[in-house]
C-alpha cells in the first residue's frame, strides 16, 4: 500500500480536456491509476481516454473520488482548488505552474482547516509504484521496491529514480513536492509518511538551493527518522543569486545555500551525493 495513494485510490482530473489533462490522464490510466472522472466546464457528458467528463466536481462525488489532479491554467487554479476543497476531496494535487504564491497560500490554509493533503503546485505529482500514479512522472522509470523519494524538482527526480531502478533497486513512493516558494507537502511531511510506511526501507531527498526546508528536514531526521536517508542538492555551483528583498534574507539567517543544506544533512548523518546518479551508490 502506498503511503498516500494506493491501488484503491479513485482519482479525478480537473481540467481534463486541457493540453496537460488530456495527455497525462491517458498516461495515468496506462499506469493503472483508477481515474474515475474528469471535469471540464461545458464538456460534461463527453468522455476522454475512456474517462467520463463532468462539468463540476460536485457531479463526480457519487463516484467517491479520493484525490484530484488539478491541471487547469494558473488563473483558474484557485477556483478549481476551492471547488475540490469544498467538495472535501482528501488529496489535492496541483500540477499547474505559475500559480501566484498568494493563491497557493490561501489554498494551503483552506486545505489545512479541512484536513486535506495538498501536493504542489508545480511539481510532478505522486506515485505509489505498482499501484497509482497521479501526475506527470514518466511511467517507464519505476520498479517496485523499498526506496521512497521526495523531491523539489521534476526531471531531476526522474533522473534519480531512473538511476535507482537501473541499479537493481526499486521505489515504494515518489513524491514531487513542487518548486514554488509556497507548496503544500514539505520534506518533513514526506519524512513522516515514509518513516511510518512499512513498505519503505530507505529514503531519498532531492533538494535545491533557496528556502530552508532542507535544513529543517535535517533537524527532523536527527530527532525522528530511523530509516536510512540520503540526499542530493541541486544548485551548488550557483553564483550567489539576487536576494529577493532584505526581509527574507535576514529571517532565513544566511541559510538557504547549498553549503548550508549539505552541512545540515551531513550533521544529521545524511550522505549527500555529488551527482544525481550517485544516489544509487549511497543507497547500497
Amino acid at each position: 500500500m502506498g503511503a498516500i495513494v494506493n491501488k484503491d485510490t479513485k482519482v479525478i482530473v480537473q481540467g481534463i480536456t486541457g493540453h496537460q489533462g488530456k495527455f497525462h490522464s491517458g498516461e495515468m490510466v496506462k499506469f493503472g491509476t483508477r481515474v474515475v472522472a474528469g471535469t471540464s466546464p461545458g464538456k460534461g457528458g463527453t468522455e476522454l481516454n475512456g474517462i467520463p467528463i463532468f462539468n463540476t466536481v460536485k457531479e463526480t462525488l457519487p463516484l467517491g473520488p479520493d484525490a484530484t489532479m488539478i491541471a487547469v491554467a494558473a488563473p483558474f487554479v484557485m477556483d478549481a482548488a476551492l471547488e475540490a476543497i469544498d467538495a472535501g476531496i482528501p488529496t489535492v494535487y496541483i500540477l499547474t505552474e505559475h500559480v501566484p504564491f498568494h493563491d497557493t497560500m490561501e489554498i494551503l490554509y483552506h486545505c489545512k482547516r479541512k484536513g486535506i493533503t495538498l501536493i504542489g503546485p508545480n511539481g510532478p505529482g505522486i506515485t505509489a509504484v505498482g499501484e497509482c500514479k497521479i501526475g506527470i512522472m514518466p511511467n517507464h522509470i519505476f520498479r517496485k521496491g523499498d526506496v521512497a523519494v521526495a523531491s523539489r524538482s521534476g526531471t531531476l527526480t526522474y533522473e534519480i529514480v531512473d538511476a535507482i531502478t537501473r541499479s537493481g533497486m526499486g521505489e515504494s513512493n515518489v513524491i514531487g513536492l513542487g518548486g514554488d516558494p509556497v507548496v503544500g507537502m514539505t520534506f518533513i511531511d514526506a519524512l513522516k509518511l515514509f518513516e511510518a510506511d512499512p513498505n519503505t526501507k530507505k529514503i531519498v531527498l532531492v533538494g535545491e538551493i533557496g528556502g530552508i526546508n532542507e535544513e529543517l528536514a535535517a533537524e527532523y531526521i536527527k530527532e525522528h527518522v530511523k530509516k536510512k536517508v540520503v540526499a542530493y542538492i541541486a544548485g551548488r555551483s550557483a553564483p550567489p543569486g539576487k536576494r529577493m528583498g532584505h526581509a527574507g534574507a535576514i529571517v532565513e539567517g544566511g541559510r538557504g545555500t547549498a553549503e548550508s543544506k549539505i552541512k545540515a544533512f551531513n550533521e544529521a548523518g545524511v550522505k549527500v551525493a555529488d551527482y544525481p546518479a550517485d544516489i544509487a551508490i549511497l543507497l547500497e
Partner: protein
Amino acid sequence: MPQSRAGGFLNLYEYMGKQIFSKFGIPVPEGYVIHGPEEVRSMDKDVVVKSQILIGGRGKAGGIKFASNIDEARAAASTLLGTKIRGYSVNTLLVEEKLSIAKEYYVSISLNRTERKPLVMASVAGGVEIESVDPKKIATRIIDPLTGYSDYVGRELTGQLGLVPEEASQFRNFLKRLYEVFEAEDCELVEINPLVVTSSGKMVAADAKVVIDTDSLFKHTEYNVTDPEKTTLELEAQGKGYSFVEMDGDIGVIANGAGLTMATLDALTLHRGKPRNFLDLGGTDSVDTVVNAFELVMKANPKVILVNIFGGVTKCDTVATGITTAKTRLSIGKPIVVRLSGVREVEGREILQKDGIQAFSQMMPAIEAVVKAAGVN
C-alpha cells in the same frame, strides 16, 4: 540562477511603489516623476531629487540630490539623468518635498518561506540596511493568512517597539494598509525604510520597496517593468518563454527541468567545466522549442554545447530532430554533446549519430565528453 521556480519576482521602482502606497492611503511625500530637467516644477519648499534605479545604496553613490530652488533642482536633474549609478542607467527621477526628519523607523511585510505565512518586521532603528540592525531591536510577527491583519497585531508590535501613543496609532494605520498592499498586489515584499517621523510628528513613507510575484501578473497587467539586472539575451529569452541565465564560462547548456539543468551545471563545475548559461527547455515536446533554444545559446557564443535531456513528456527523438535541425539551420560548427535518456531514447540517439553528433544515454559520460571538448585538461 533561478531555483526550479517557474516564475520570479518583479522589483518595482520607488515611484511606482509610492503610487501604490498612495492608492491604498499610505502617506508618502508630495512629489512627481520627471524624465528631463525641464519638467521640474516651481515650488515653495526644499526638494530631493532621487534617481529611480533598482539597486540599494543610491544615496552613498550620489544618486540622490537636494535642492532649495528650481534652478538647483534642474541642475541636479541634469547631473543625474543619463548617468550610470552602480552600473544602472538613470532615466527617471522622482522629485519630492524634502522631509524634516525627526526619526527613522523600519517596517516590512514579506513571505516567510519556512512558515509559509506573511511576516511583519518592524524596528525603530530604520534608515539603515535591516541586516545591520541588532535583531533584538527588530519586532517580528507571523500573520495567519486566512485571518489576515487585524489591529491587535499592530498593538503587539507597537508595544514591543515602545512607540508613544500618537506614533503607535499612525504606525498601526501604516501596517493595516501595508498588509492590504501585500495582499492585493500579490507582493513578495513590501518595505518602507525609512518610515520617517517628521519634526511635526507625522509618519511618512520616505522610500518604497515593492516586490511583486511575476506569476501574479495576469491579475496586475498594469505593471510593465523590465528587470534591469537581466542581460539583453536574458530578456530575449524571457520574451520567448525560456528560463535562461547567462554565466561566465564557455560550455553552452540546454537541459530540461530547472532541477536537472542545475544538476548539469553542478556536474560540469565539479569536472572543472565552466558553463556559459542556464537554459531550461521546459516540458514541451516540440522541435521548434529545441531549435529556438539553440539559437539563444549560439548568441552567447559558447565553445561547445551540451544537451542533457531526461525524456518523459519531452520525447528524445523530438529533441534529436530539433538538434539536427538547429545544427543545419544555424550552421553550427561547434561540438555538440548530447545525453538522451528516457522515452524514445534509442531512436533519438540514432538520429544524432547519423548526423555525426556524440550521443550518450547517461549523464556522466556526456559531462566528461563535453568538458574534454571544451579543452579542460
